[in-house]
Protein backbone atom coordinates (compact mmCIF):
# COMPACT_ATOMS: atom_id res chain seq x y z
CA UNK A 1 0.00 0.00 0.00
CA UNK A 2 1.09 3.51 -0.72
CA UNK A 3 1.27 4.91 2.76
CA UNK A 4 3.05 8.10 3.68
CA UNK A 5 4.22 8.86 7.18
CA UNK A 6 2.39 11.62 8.97
CA UNK A 7 4.15 14.95 8.77
CA UNK A 8 6.12 15.04 12.02
CA UNK A 9 7.79 18.33 12.85
CA UNK A 10 10.02 16.94 15.58
CA UNK A 11 12.58 14.33 14.76
CA UNK A 12 11.92 10.71 15.69
CA UNK A 13 14.04 10.71 18.87
CA UNK A 14 12.36 13.85 20.18
CA UNK A 15 8.96 12.31 19.48
CA UNK A 16 9.92 9.15 21.41
CA UNK A 17 11.13 11.28 24.34
CA UNK A 18 8.34 13.83 24.55
CA UNK A 19 5.37 12.25 22.76
CA UNK A 20 5.87 8.46 22.53
CA UNK A 21 2.08 8.13 22.32
CA UNK A 22 2.36 8.94 18.61
CA UNK A 23 3.68 5.39 18.28
CA UNK A 24 2.49 3.65 21.44
CA UNK A 25 -0.95 3.63 23.09
CA UNK A 26 -3.75 1.27 24.08
CA UNK A 27 -3.02 -2.13 25.62
CA UNK A 28 0.68 -2.03 24.68
CA UNK A 29 1.18 1.22 26.59
CA UNK A 30 -0.91 -0.10 29.48
CA UNK A 31 1.13 -3.28 29.88
CA UNK A 32 4.45 -1.45 29.53
CA UNK A 33 3.32 1.36 31.83
CA UNK A 34 2.19 -1.03 34.59
CA UNK A 35 5.49 -2.94 34.37
CA UNK A 36 7.38 0.36 34.70
CA UNK A 37 5.21 1.50 37.64
CA UNK A 38 5.97 -1.79 39.45
CA UNK A 39 9.65 -1.52 38.47
CA UNK A 40 9.77 2.02 39.88
CA UNK A 41 8.16 0.80 43.12
CA UNK A 42 10.67 -2.07 43.42
CA UNK A 43 13.59 0.27 42.84
CA UNK A 44 12.15 2.85 45.23
CA UNK A 45 11.70 0.23 47.96
CA UNK A 46 15.45 -0.44 47.89
CA UNK A 47 16.20 3.08 49.18
CA UNK A 48 12.83 4.07 50.70
CA UNK A 49 12.03 6.41 47.82
CA UNK A 50 8.29 7.19 47.98
CA UNK A 51 6.06 8.55 45.23
CA UNK A 52 3.44 9.74 47.69
CA UNK A 53 1.28 11.81 45.34
CA UNK A 54 0.82 12.28 41.59
CA UNK A 55 3.72 14.77 41.49
CA UNK A 56 5.48 13.90 44.74
CA UNK A 57 8.71 12.14 45.55
CA UNK A 58 10.14 11.87 49.05
CA UNK A 59 12.84 9.81 50.71
CA UNK A 60 13.12 8.39 54.17
CA UNK A 61 10.26 6.41 55.72
CA UNK A 62 10.52 2.63 55.71
CA UNK A 63 7.50 0.70 54.43
CA UNK A 64 6.64 -2.78 53.13
CA UNK A 65 6.99 -3.44 49.38
CA UNK A 66 3.23 -3.57 48.81
CA UNK A 67 2.96 0.06 49.95
CA UNK A 68 5.48 1.27 47.36
CA UNK A 69 3.50 -0.56 44.66
CA UNK A 70 0.22 0.86 46.00
CA UNK A 71 1.67 4.39 45.83
CA UNK A 72 2.50 3.93 42.14
CA UNK A 73 -0.96 2.60 41.30
CA UNK A 74 -2.78 5.30 43.30
CA UNK A 75 -0.73 8.06 41.61
CA UNK A 76 -1.46 6.63 38.15
CA UNK A 77 -5.17 5.89 38.66
CA UNK A 78 -5.94 9.18 40.47
CA UNK A 79 -4.95 11.21 37.43
CA UNK A 80 -6.12 8.76 34.76
CA UNK A 81 -9.66 8.58 36.17
CA UNK A 82 -10.04 12.38 36.31
CA UNK A 83 -8.56 12.84 32.82
CA UNK A 84 -10.89 10.18 31.46
CA UNK A 85 -13.91 11.97 32.99
CA UNK A 86 -12.60 15.34 31.75
CA UNK A 87 -12.12 13.86 28.27
CA UNK A 88 -15.73 12.68 28.21
CA UNK A 89 -16.96 16.14 29.23
CA UNK A 90 -14.66 18.31 27.11
CA UNK A 91 -14.26 16.13 24.01
CA UNK A 92 -17.91 15.22 23.59
CA UNK A 93 -17.14 12.34 21.22
CA UNK A 94 -15.86 8.81 21.54
CA UNK A 95 -12.32 7.84 22.48
CA UNK A 96 -10.92 4.65 23.98
CA UNK A 97 -10.64 4.37 27.76
CA UNK A 98 -7.64 2.05 27.38
CA UNK A 99 -5.73 4.81 25.56
CA UNK A 100 -6.20 7.25 28.46
CA UNK A 101 -5.23 4.72 31.14
CA UNK A 102 -2.45 3.13 29.06
CA UNK A 103 -0.75 6.36 28.04
CA UNK A 104 -1.04 7.81 31.56
CA UNK A 105 0.63 4.68 32.97
CA UNK A 106 3.45 5.04 30.45
CA UNK A 107 3.75 8.79 31.12
CA UNK A 108 5.00 7.98 34.64
CA UNK A 109 8.14 6.23 33.33
CA UNK A 110 10.55 9.16 34.13
CA UNK A 111 9.88 8.33 37.81
CA UNK A 112 12.03 5.24 37.25
CA UNK A 113 14.95 7.63 36.72
CA UNK A 114 13.92 9.59 39.81
CA UNK A 115 13.91 6.39 41.84
CA UNK A 116 17.35 5.49 40.48
CA UNK A 117 18.67 8.94 41.46
CA UNK A 118 16.98 8.69 44.85
CA UNK A 119 18.54 5.39 45.90
CA UNK A 120 22.14 6.60 45.43
CA UNK A 121 24.06 5.96 48.71
CA UNK A 122 25.06 9.64 48.97
CA UNK A 123 21.38 10.63 48.93
CA UNK A 124 20.64 8.08 51.62
CA UNK A 125 23.37 9.56 53.84
CA UNK A 126 22.18 13.15 53.30
CA UNK A 127 18.57 12.11 53.97
CA UNK A 128 19.57 10.33 57.19
CA UNK A 129 21.45 13.41 58.41
CA UNK A 130 18.53 15.70 57.54
CA UNK A 131 16.11 13.33 59.31
CA UNK A 132 18.28 13.49 62.45
CA UNK A 133 17.99 17.29 62.46
CA UNK A 134 14.22 17.16 61.95
CA UNK A 135 13.75 14.50 64.66
CA UNK A 136 15.90 16.41 67.21
CA UNK A 137 14.67 20.00 66.98
CA UNK A 138 16.22 21.03 70.33
CA UNK A 139 19.79 20.23 69.32
CA UNK A 140 21.98 22.48 67.17
CA UNK A 141 21.92 21.28 63.52
CA UNK A 142 25.13 19.48 62.53
CA UNK A 143 25.56 17.82 59.12
CA UNK A 144 28.29 15.14 59.25
CA UNK A 145 28.70 14.80 55.48
CA UNK A 146 31.45 14.57 52.89
CA UNK A 147 31.42 17.35 50.24
CA UNK A 148 30.97 14.69 47.53
CA UNK A 149 27.73 13.56 49.22
CA UNK A 150 26.35 17.08 49.06
CA UNK A 151 27.35 17.43 45.38
CA UNK A 152 25.74 14.09 44.46
CA UNK A 153 22.64 15.03 46.47
CA UNK A 154 22.36 18.39 44.66
CA UNK A 155 22.77 16.72 41.26
CA UNK A 156 20.19 14.08 42.14
CA UNK A 157 17.73 16.81 43.14
CA UNK A 158 18.21 18.47 39.73
CA UNK A 159 17.65 15.11 37.97
CA UNK A 160 14.52 14.50 40.04
CA UNK A 161 13.17 17.99 39.28
CA UNK A 162 13.80 17.52 35.54
CA UNK A 163 12.16 14.08 35.50
CA UNK A 164 9.07 15.42 37.29
CA UNK A 165 8.73 18.22 34.71
CA UNK A 166 9.32 15.67 31.94
CA UNK A 167 6.59 13.44 33.41
CA UNK A 168 4.11 16.34 33.47
CA UNK A 169 4.86 17.05 29.79
CA UNK A 170 4.27 13.36 28.98
CA UNK A 171 1.04 13.31 31.01
CA UNK A 172 -0.26 16.31 29.07
CA UNK A 173 0.72 14.86 25.69
CA UNK A 174 -0.84 11.51 26.66
CA UNK A 175 -4.11 13.28 27.51
CA UNK A 176 -4.06 15.40 24.33
CA UNK A 177 -3.38 12.40 22.05
CA UNK A 178 -5.79 9.98 23.78
CA UNK A 179 -8.73 12.40 23.81
CA UNK A 180 -7.76 14.39 20.68
CA UNK A 181 -7.81 17.70 22.52
CA UNK A 182 -5.86 20.83 21.70
CA UNK A 183 -5.36 24.39 22.88
CA UNK A 184 -6.88 26.07 25.92
CA UNK A 185 -9.53 23.36 26.41
CA UNK A 186 -6.87 20.67 26.74
CA UNK A 187 -4.51 22.75 28.89
CA UNK A 188 -7.06 24.10 31.38
CA UNK A 189 -8.86 20.76 31.84
CA UNK A 190 -5.48 19.02 32.31
CA UNK A 191 -4.29 21.48 34.98
CA UNK A 192 -7.59 21.19 36.88
CA UNK A 193 -7.40 17.37 36.76
CA UNK A 194 -3.76 17.41 37.86
CA UNK A 195 -4.50 19.56 40.91
CA UNK A 196 -7.56 17.51 41.90
CA UNK A 197 -5.69 14.23 41.31
CA UNK A 198 -2.75 15.41 43.45
CA UNK A 199 -5.12 16.05 46.36
CA UNK A 200 -7.06 12.82 45.78
CA UNK A 201 -3.89 10.72 45.60
CA UNK A 202 -2.84 12.09 49.00
CA UNK A 203 -6.29 11.25 50.36
CA UNK A 204 -6.07 7.76 48.82
CA UNK A 205 -2.69 7.08 50.44
CA UNK A 206 -3.92 8.44 53.78
CA UNK A 207 -6.92 6.09 53.58
CA UNK A 208 -4.70 3.10 52.79
CA UNK A 209 -2.43 3.86 55.76
CA UNK A 210 -5.50 4.14 58.01
CA UNK A 211 -6.94 0.86 56.72
CA UNK A 212 -3.66 -1.06 56.66
CA UNK A 213 -1.27 0.45 59.22
CA UNK A 214 2.35 0.13 58.10
CA UNK A 215 3.78 -0.68 61.53
Amino acid sequence: MNTQALPVKMNRLAVWLFNPFTYLAGWQALMLGVILIIGTALLGSVGNVHFDGVLDMHMGAEAPLWFFIAEGFIDWLSLAIYLWIAGLIVRGSAFRMVDVFGTQALARWPMLLSAAAGILPANQRVTEELMKIVQNPGQPPVLALEPIDVIVFAMAMIIILVTIIWMIVLMYRAYAVSCNLKGAKAFVSFIICLLVAEAMSKLGLYTIIKLFPLN
Binding site: Q4, L6, P7, G26, D99
Partner: protein, 100 residues
Protein backbone atom coordinates in the same frame (compact mmCIF):
# COMPACT_ATOMS: atom_id res chain seq x y z
CA UNK B 1 4.36 13.83 -13.25
CA UNK B 2 4.10 17.04 -11.24
CA UNK B 3 1.91 17.23 -8.17
CA UNK B 4 -1.51 18.77 -8.83
CA UNK B 5 -1.57 22.29 -7.37
CA UNK B 6 -4.83 22.98 -5.55
CA UNK B 7 -4.20 26.51 -4.28
CA UNK B 8 -3.17 29.67 -6.11
CA UNK B 9 0.47 30.40 -5.24
CA UNK B 10 -0.26 34.14 -5.28
CA UNK B 11 -3.50 34.54 -3.31
CA UNK B 12 -4.04 31.01 -1.82
CA UNK B 13 -7.49 30.81 -3.47
CA UNK B 14 -8.82 27.45 -4.69
CA UNK B 15 -7.66 26.64 -8.26
CA UNK B 16 -10.01 25.36 -10.94
CA UNK B 17 -9.18 23.19 -13.96
CA UNK B 18 -9.02 25.16 -17.18
CA UNK B 19 -7.72 22.68 -19.74
CA UNK B 20 -7.76 18.87 -20.12
CA UNK B 21 -5.68 16.90 -22.60
CA UNK B 22 -6.22 13.38 -23.96
CA UNK B 23 -3.18 11.22 -23.18
CA UNK B 24 -3.50 9.34 -26.47
CA UNK B 25 -4.43 11.81 -29.22
CA UNK B 26 -3.60 15.10 -27.45
CA UNK B 27 -7.11 16.47 -28.00
CA UNK B 28 -7.61 19.41 -25.71
CA UNK B 29 -10.78 20.48 -23.95
CA UNK B 30 -11.02 23.93 -22.47
CA UNK B 31 -13.52 25.18 -19.94
CA UNK B 32 -13.89 25.96 -16.27
CA UNK B 33 -14.10 22.81 -14.18
CA UNK B 34 -14.10 22.77 -10.40
CA UNK B 35 -11.93 20.24 -8.61
CA UNK B 36 -13.91 17.48 -6.92
CA UNK B 37 -13.88 17.54 -3.12
CA UNK B 38 -11.32 14.76 -2.63
CA UNK B 39 -8.84 16.45 -4.98
CA UNK B 40 -9.04 19.59 -2.84
CA UNK B 41 -7.34 17.69 0.00
CA UNK B 42 -3.56 17.79 0.36
CA UNK B 43 -1.75 14.88 -1.30
CA UNK B 44 -0.88 13.19 2.05
CA UNK B 45 -4.54 13.49 3.08
CA UNK B 46 -5.63 11.86 -0.19
CA UNK B 47 -3.20 9.00 0.45
CA UNK B 48 -4.60 8.60 3.96
CA UNK B 49 -8.18 8.43 2.63
CA UNK B 50 -7.22 5.83 0.00
CA UNK B 51 -5.31 3.69 2.51
CA UNK B 52 -8.21 3.93 4.93
CA UNK B 53 -10.54 2.57 2.24
CA UNK B 54 -8.08 -0.22 1.40
CA UNK B 55 -8.04 -1.16 5.09
CA UNK B 56 -11.85 -1.44 4.96
CA UNK B 57 -12.09 1.46 7.37
CA UNK B 58 -10.21 -0.32 10.13
CA UNK B 59 -8.25 2.14 12.27
CA UNK B 60 -6.39 -0.76 13.88
CA UNK B 61 -5.16 -1.93 10.48
CA UNK B 62 -4.25 1.63 9.56
CA UNK B 63 -2.28 2.03 12.79
CA UNK B 64 -0.37 -1.19 12.07
CA UNK B 65 0.26 -0.15 8.47
CA UNK B 66 1.50 3.33 9.37
CA UNK B 67 3.40 2.14 12.47
CA UNK B 68 1.56 4.72 14.56
CA UNK B 69 -0.67 4.41 17.61
CA UNK B 70 -4.42 3.98 17.28
CA UNK B 71 -5.34 7.41 18.75
CA UNK B 72 -2.79 9.17 16.52
CA UNK B 73 -4.39 7.65 13.42
CA UNK B 74 -7.89 8.35 14.72
CA UNK B 75 -6.94 11.99 15.43
CA UNK B 76 -5.59 12.28 11.88
CA UNK B 77 -8.86 10.89 10.54
CA UNK B 78 -10.84 13.37 12.67
CA UNK B 79 -8.76 16.23 11.24
CA UNK B 80 -9.47 15.10 7.67
CA UNK B 81 -13.20 14.66 8.41
CA UNK B 82 -13.26 18.20 9.82
CA UNK B 83 -11.48 19.51 6.70
CA UNK B 84 -13.94 17.68 4.41
CA UNK B 85 -16.86 19.25 6.29
CA UNK B 86 -15.33 22.72 5.85
CA UNK B 87 -14.72 22.05 2.14
CA UNK B 88 -18.33 20.92 1.73
CA UNK B 89 -19.51 24.16 3.31
CA UNK B 90 -17.22 26.15 0.99
CA UNK B 91 -18.53 24.28 -2.07
CA UNK B 92 -22.14 24.82 -0.91
CA UNK B 93 -21.61 28.55 -0.44
CA UNK B 94 -19.85 28.81 -3.84
CA UNK B 95 -22.77 27.01 -5.51
CA UNK B 96 -25.28 29.31 -3.81
CA UNK B 97 -23.34 32.39 -4.94
CA UNK B 98 -23.34 31.15 -8.54
CA UNK B 99 -27.07 30.41 -8.51
CA UNK B 100 -27.97 33.88 -7.21
Amino acid sequence: MSRLPIQCPACREQLNVNKLTCRKCQTQVEGLYELPLLLRLESDEQVFVLDFLKCSGSLKEMAALMKLSYPTVRNRLDEIIEKIKQLEQTIDSETREKNQ
